[in-house]
C-alpha cells in the first residue's frame, strides 16, 4: 500500500490487511518530505516501533542537492529506535537491491522467518550500526 501521508483514509479501513512493516520514504532533496514524515509519525501506534518501522532515505546520489542534514535523519532514526537505509531510487541497480533488502525485512517482520522476530532484527541492525 502506498500513501502520501498518514493517517490513512478511513473509508478503506475494512479493506486493509494487517500491516507488518511501515517504510517512511524521505527525499533528501526536499525539506517538505522530512516535515511530512515527522508529522505522519505521530499517527503511528507505539507498538510498530518495535522493529516494524524503517526509514528509507533516497536521492543520496546527488550530493549537491541535499537539503536535509544527514545528522537530522540519524537523530530521527535514534529517536524512534528504527533503522535508516540510504539509497538512490533513480539508479536501477540500487533500486533492485533496496527492494530486496526491504523484502527480506518484511519477511522477518511478518514472522515468516522462524526463530527471528522483528524486534531481534531491529536490535541487530542497531548494534551493527553503532560498531
Amino acid at each position: 500500500h502506498i500513501a502520501t501521508s498518514l493517517p490513512l483514509p478511513s473509508e478503506r479501513d475494512h479493506l486493509r490487511p494487517r500491516i507488518d512493516l511501515i517504510v517512511f520514504v524521505i527525499d533528501i532533496k526536499s525539506k517538505c518530505s522530512l516535515k511530512n514524515v515527522e508529522a505522519s509519525l505521530a499517527y503511528v501506534d507505539a507498538s510498530f516501533f518495535l522493529g516494524k518501522v524503517c526509514f528509507l532515505v533516497t536521492g543520496v546520489g546527488r550530493v549537491n542537492c541535499c537539503s536535509i542534514e544527514p545528522n537530522a535523519i540519524s537523530k530521527l532514526g535514534e529517536a524512534y529506535c528504527s533503522p535508516v537505509l540510504f539509497c538512490e531510487l533513480e539508479l536501477e541497480g540500487v533500486r533492485v537491491a533496496t527492494a530486496q533488502r526491504l523484502l527480506r525485512m518484511l519477511q522477518i517482520c511478518a514472522g515468516l522467518v522462524p526463530g527471528f522476530s522483528a524486534l531481534s532484527f531491529s536490535l541487530l541492525m542497531r548494534n551493527s550500526a553503532d560498531d
Binding site: H1, I2, A3, T4, L8, P9, R12
Partner: protein, 346 residues
C-alpha cells in the same frame, strides 16, 4: 558579384548543418540542378561554402537572392529566434479584400521613403504566411545584412509575429509600415513572447485544445490509464486525492499538447504584507519584485507539477490563464479601494 554578397552567402551556408545544405540550396532554386550535382557535400563545410560562392559568382548573385536564402534558413530554423506578437486594430468593420501585391508595394514604399537604405524581401508560404525580411541601414550606410528583422503576417488575421533585430530603434518604423500596408488603424505589442513561432500562432489563433466545461461527466473508459500502475498488488491509499488532482489539472490545462513557451514573468508592484510587529517597510512603498519561471516547455512542466506532488492543485490562475489570456508577461498591482487584493493589469 559584390564581395559583401559573397561573404554573406558564405556565412549563411556555414550556418546550415551539413546534411541540410543540399536541400536548402534546392529550395532556394538559384543554382541549377546541374550546378548542384557538381558540389561535393561530403567535405568540410568551409569547402562546401566556398564552392557554393563560386557557383553563385557564375550566376552573378546579388543581395536580393542572398536575402531569399536567409529567409529560407530562418523559416526552417525559426525556433532559434525569439518572437513577439503584435495585434493590429481596425477602426471600422469593413472587410477589405487583401491584395498581396498592393500590400508589398505599400510596405516597401513606406519603408523606403523613410529610410533609403533598406533591403526588403518577401516570401509566401502555403499556410497563408507572408515572411518579410528587412535589413536596416542609415542614410549614410548600407543595410546591415547580419542583423535583419523578420516579420510573419497571416493576412486573414490581425496578428503579426516579429523577431526584431538588436536595433530596436527601427521597430516603430516597421510597425508603421505594417499598418499602412495592411490598411489597419494601429498596432500594439502583446505581452507574449516565445521561441516557438508555431506555439505563438496556436495561442493567438486558438488552435490549441482548450478545455470546455461540459455538464456530462466523462465515461470511465475515456480516462487515460496511468502507465506503470497496472500491477494490481500495489494499492494506492490516496486514490481519490490523485483523481481529484487529475481532474483539476485536466480542467485547467485541457487534454491536448500545450503550446511551447519558455518563460512566464510576473512583475509585482504590490505592497509587502507583514505582521504589524515586524514593521519591515515603514515607507509603505510597493515592494518591487520580479518572478520569472523558465523551462524548455513551461506549460507542460506546470501541468505536471500537481500530479508530481510538487504543488497543490488547483494551481494559481495566474499560471493557468497563460494560453487563454495570450500573455506570458504580467504586471500585478494592488487593487485600489476597500479590498486590498492584487489584480492583474490589462
Amino acid at each position: 558579384m559584390d564581395e559583401t554578397v559573397a561573404e554573406y552567402i558564405r556565412r549563411t551556408v556555414l550556418k546550415i548543418p551539413r546534411d541540410e545544405i543540399k536541400m536548402m540550396l534546392q529550395k532556394w532554386g538559384f543554382l541549377s540542378e546541374a550546378q548542384l550535382q557538381t558540389l561535393n557535400f561530403h567535405q568540410i563545410k568551409d569547402n562546401i561554402s566556398q564552392e557554393v560562392v563560386q557557383l553563385c559568382e557564375e550566376n552573378a548573385a546579388d543581395i536580393k537572392q542572398a536575402a531569399v536564402l536567409d529567409i529560407i534558413y530562418n523559416h526552417t530554423y525559426q525556433n532559434k529566434r525569439m518572437w513577439s506578437v503584435y495585434q493590429m486594430r481596425k477602426t471600422g468593420e469593413e472587410l477589405e479584400y487583401f491584395d498581396l501585391t498592393d500590400f508589398k508595394k505599400k510596405f516597401k514604399r513606406r519603408l523606403q521613403s523613410a529610410l533609403k537604405n533598406v533591403t526588403i524581401t518577401f516570401r509566401e508560404y502555403e499556410d497563408d504566411a507572408i515572411w518579410i525580411r528587412v535589413a536596416w541601414g542609415t542614410p549614410y550606410r548600407q543595410p546591415n545584412q547580419y542583423k535583419p528583422s523578420y516579420v510573419v503576417y497571416h493576412s486573414q488575421t490581425p496578428y503579426v509575429f516579429i523577431s526584431a533585430s538588436v536595433l530596436k530603434s527601427n521597430l516603430p518604423l516597421l510597425c508603421q509600415a505594417l499598418i499602412v500596408a495592411s490598411n489597419y488603424h494601429d498596432i500594439r505589442e502583446m505581452e507574449l513572447r516565445s521561441h516557438s513561432l508555431n506555439s505563438l500562432k496556436d495561442i493567438v489563433f486558438k488552435r490549441y485544445s482548450q478545455n470546455f466545461h461540459t455538464y456530462c461527466p466523462k465515461p470511465p473508459q475515456a480516462r487515460a490509464v496511468e502507465p506503470g500502475s497496472v500491477d494490481l498488488r500495489i494499492i494506492n491509499e490516496n486514490r481519490s486525492e490523485k483523481e481529484r488532482i487529475q481532474r483539476l489539472n485536466q480542467e485547467a490545462f485541457g487534454d491536448g499538447p500545450q503550446p511551447i513557451l519558455q518563460f512566464a514573468q510576473y512583475k509585482l508592484e504590490t505592497m509587502f504584507k507583514s505582521s504589524p510587529e515586524m514593521d519591515v517597510l515603514d515607507k509603505k512603498e510597493p515592494f518591487r519584485c520580479l518572478v520569472k519561471f523558465s523551462s524548455p516547455h513551461l506549460l507542460e512542466s506546470l501541468k505536471s507539477l500537481a500530479p508530481a506532488g510538487m504543488a497543490d492543485a488547483p494551481l494559481s490562475p495566474l499560471l493557468t490563464c497563460i494560453p487563454q489570456k495570450a500573455r506570458n508577461y504580467f504586471r500585478i498591482r494592488e487593487k485600489k479601494g476597500f479590498f486590498p487584493e492584487s489584480f492583474v493589469s490589462p
